[in-house]
Symmetry: C2
Subunit: 145 residues, 2 copies
Amino acid sequence: MAPHAHPTDPSDMPLGPRQRALLAVLRAANAELSGQELHERLRQSSQRHGLATVYRNLRLLQRSGLVRCRKLPNGESVYAPLERDDHHLTCVSCGHSEPLPICPVASGGLALTKVLLQGFKPLFHTFEIHGLCRSCQQSEPLAHG
Amino acid sequence: MAPHAHPTDPSDMPLGPRQRALLAVLRAANAELSGQELHERLRQSSQRHGLATVYRNLRLLQRSGLVRCRKLPNGESVYAPLERDDHHLTCVSCGHSEPLPICPVASGGLALTKVLLQGFKPLFHTFEIHGLCRSCQQSEPLAHG
DNA sequence: CGTATGCTGAGAATGGTTCTCGTTTTAGCA
DNA sequence: TGCTAAAACGAGAACCATTCTCAGCATACG
Ligand SMILES: [Mn+2]
Ligand SMILES: [Mn+2]
Ligand SMILES: [Zn+2]
Ligand SMILES: [Zn+2]
């Protein structure tokens, strides 16, 4: 086994300085950040990034297996470092989303006991696995579609 | 236990004819449908629905616990009847999304064996529970925010 | 230097979804 | 069956996060 244990072996794609900056902000943050929020935080500290660059590198970081993202009901995407493992209860009515301290993948058992739901009434769940499909692992495409 | 076993007891909100039509198309379909696709299918069969009406009733059906939705990486939302329980493997590179025949909630065990992944390389997963938060269960709001 | 290659970012374009608001339908009642 | 208030509808405009365009800039290398 290799000395490092990151997914998609990040060593094979060295990470530019902008990507390191993005990753640093994400890791420093205590919550998921949207593209716009990241852009904002980078305006203040360190050097300015263009919005296009933020999104571009966010996509690359995602492909490298360093960053994950989920889409909020209002349409915006929020990002977090992959090593942070959090899930949420999201209300289909008001869109409010609060932490859910359980992960069906980590815990072999998955106990969705009522205590954890704390009055939240689940209507449906989403369990998606994002990654690289077979063909994209072979070629190294940038095309989206 | 009540004679019917639907979530959020649909009997307390009778469902208008447009909502029944939407639900029928969703149940007849063999895959998730986007708002646009639903609008299209309703143009052909039965009566025409305006696009706004499609989205409006989709939201209501979701609140009633009859329909669920997930957001594709390209931004569009796809809908399915709640009783259909399917998940997907989605590629962060090309966006392609294929069925994943496993559900972490139903199966107590959750065996993400390599056989199921079939060469797909998972980078991260999403497990979200959507439903009604406490405050929204009390009041019956229509506001979105 | 000279050139090839890739990254950057201001601004324009995109496109799914939501909003607006006048019209149409429904519901309740006499 | 008429009559009115409330609710649902829908064409088109507005929204807005994200992506695209493309000229300018950085870096590598002989
Ligand atoms: Mn997890
Ligand atoms: Mn399931
Ligand atoms: Zn709520
Ligand atoms: Zn792919």
